[in-house]
Symmetry: C2
Subunit: 321 residues, 2 copies
């Protein structure tokens, strides 16, 4: 049965990539569509770098570094070491294999390909069966506003400042004039199920949701979120800190509320079982299970439970509570 | 005495870089000015690549690969191998250390620095005492016209096509609106001696000579060329082939004639001793010596002989014959 399902996953970096990989593996030969945040993209040394696209692609291709949240397995650092010797900016870590992908993506874009077309070509070359689509072909850049009145690009905040500044808000520069990349709205329309991967709601999923037409299209579908907050914390990244600094208690309830205008159900961890009542009160159906993905098997198991849960809800129709 | 000399060298790639290095070493702590061809520059993967500047800088910094005509010693190829796996264009060989310099140059230029300012900064970081100046901060691109009626960028001709197409002419795109980079005309004016390094007259030295003001400034100076043609051949590169295809007999005489409107003297190899008479007939003074630079000592020796010869001629004044 699973093979014939049409699934769209919205994803940011590591957590999102892991679940997307679990879904891809669970659905076996049937390709899924992964819509990926590009608000974190940056231009460095003349190169177009798309960290979330890279993480998703490396993970789906089985090339991701398993020990850290980004980059490639068996990576080398020849160029980076030389950049440091040359006194070049070294806050953004560029592995040699990773760099090759940035170079070729930049080459494809400069040859006239859109980011989504470049991504399609690179996925074929990386042997990825799934359809990975950047959220937009226009430039959208996430800015993080901080307590001292300044703002940073997302990568400056995330990598250079190690998420230390206290945030006061976000801006997604270019979002008003950006359109979802070709194929995204159609994929959502045709999907049996849309899954919001356990990615940062503020900076990974929100930019996707803010693109013209995305939110209305989700309101017509069965949408399941997998909470990135477990026991008030995140496995990776600043989502919990962001909830706190935005005046909300980090938890699965906060995640459910973040998406409340279109969310059908939410998958939360055993640690958050205490939040089920409040989530149901908001008209959203929770599924309590293990959401920590340590192994490939964990990814597949979480994907399977999320899909089965979502398909049950989808069959019941949109208004469940 | 040598320390107080002001020398300007015009150079392209390998041969030019070697003699520039010999001059630099011979003059010891006194910096020389090396004006370098940028007609061979290219944009690849979004990066600004300046092959001749790189060769000159690596050679002066003692970082050049001694066995081939380009690139760095102790180079690694991690990125290049990955580019090949990704199906990226691989005709231009990009070593990891070399790539780091391309990245940082591109970064400096995108930060608002001119190519000459970026070069100045990179030279400091590479520990180069001499002043290396790209011939211009504007974009000049050498096109090679071939017998089949098409044209190629210089690097396509040189690297991709291995200099195989028969050439019919050259165009230096952008040369009319380009100006010599800041400091070049003044350095020539103040120089005791200008040396045309043994670089390709057609594609390494000609672009420099065609820049506004260069040729008139050279006509006022003592200018010595070191012939890149030895026994009708070149050590590296297509200069001899180009002379033939342009309808001239490759030799030191052809080199002397190429520069006849401003050249004072020419240093030629023992193998070309038979050409001295014809060279003198053109009003140019030849010096016959060993011009093949196999070792560092060869470079210094050739530099010493060229400078001593040039200074003798300079003291006699411009009109010698």
């Amino acid at each position: 049965m699973a093979e014939s399902l049409k699934i769209v996953a919205l994803a940011g970096g590591v957590g999102g990539a892991k679940l997307a990989d679990g879904i891809s593996r669970y659905l076996n030969n049937s390709p899924i569509t992964v819509v990926v945040n590009t608000g974190d993209d940056l231009e460095l040394f003349g190169l177009h770098i798309s960290p979330d696209l890279d993480t998703v692609c490396y993970t789906l291709a089985g090339l991701a570094n398993p020990s850290c949240g980004w980059g490639r397995v068996d990576e080398t650092w020849q160029v980076y070491e030389e950049l440091q010797k040359l006194g070049a900016p070294d806050w953004f870590h560029l592995g040699d294999k990773d760099l090759a992908l940035h170079l070729e993506r930049t080459h494809l874009i400069q040859s006239g390909q859109s980011l989504s077309e470049a991504t399609r070509i690179l996925c074929i070359r990386l042997g990825i069966k799934d359809r990975v689509i950047p959220m937009t072909d226009q430039m959208v850049r996430t800015l993080v506003f901080t307590q001292d009145g300044s703002h940073l690009s997302f990568q400056e905040y995330f990598v250079k400042e190690q998420c230390e500044p206290v945030i006061t808000g976000f801006e997604f520069k270019g979002i008003r004039s950006a359109k979802p990349a070709d194929g995204i709205l159609q994929a959502i329309e045709e999907a049996h199920l849309v899954i919001l991967c356990p990615s940062n709601p503020w900076v990974s999923i929100d930019p996707i949701l803010l693109l013209k037409g995305i939110r209305p299209s989700l309101q017509k579908k069965c949408v399941i979120a997998v909470s990135p907050i477990i026991g008030g914390k995140t496995i990776k990244g600043p989502a919990a800190k962001m909830f706190r600094e935005m005046g909300e208690i980090p938890g699965s309830l906060a995640v459910a509320e973040h998406y409340k205008d279109f969310l059908t159900g939410i998958v939360i961890d055993h640690q958050d079982v205490g939040e089920t009542g409040s989530i149901i009160d908001r008209g959203i159906i929770p599924l309590v299970t293990n959401t920590i993905m340590r192994t490939i098997e964990d990814r597949i198991q979480l994907a399977k439970e999320t899909i089965n849960f979502g398909m049950q809800l989808a069959r019941k129709g949109k208004n469940l509570v």
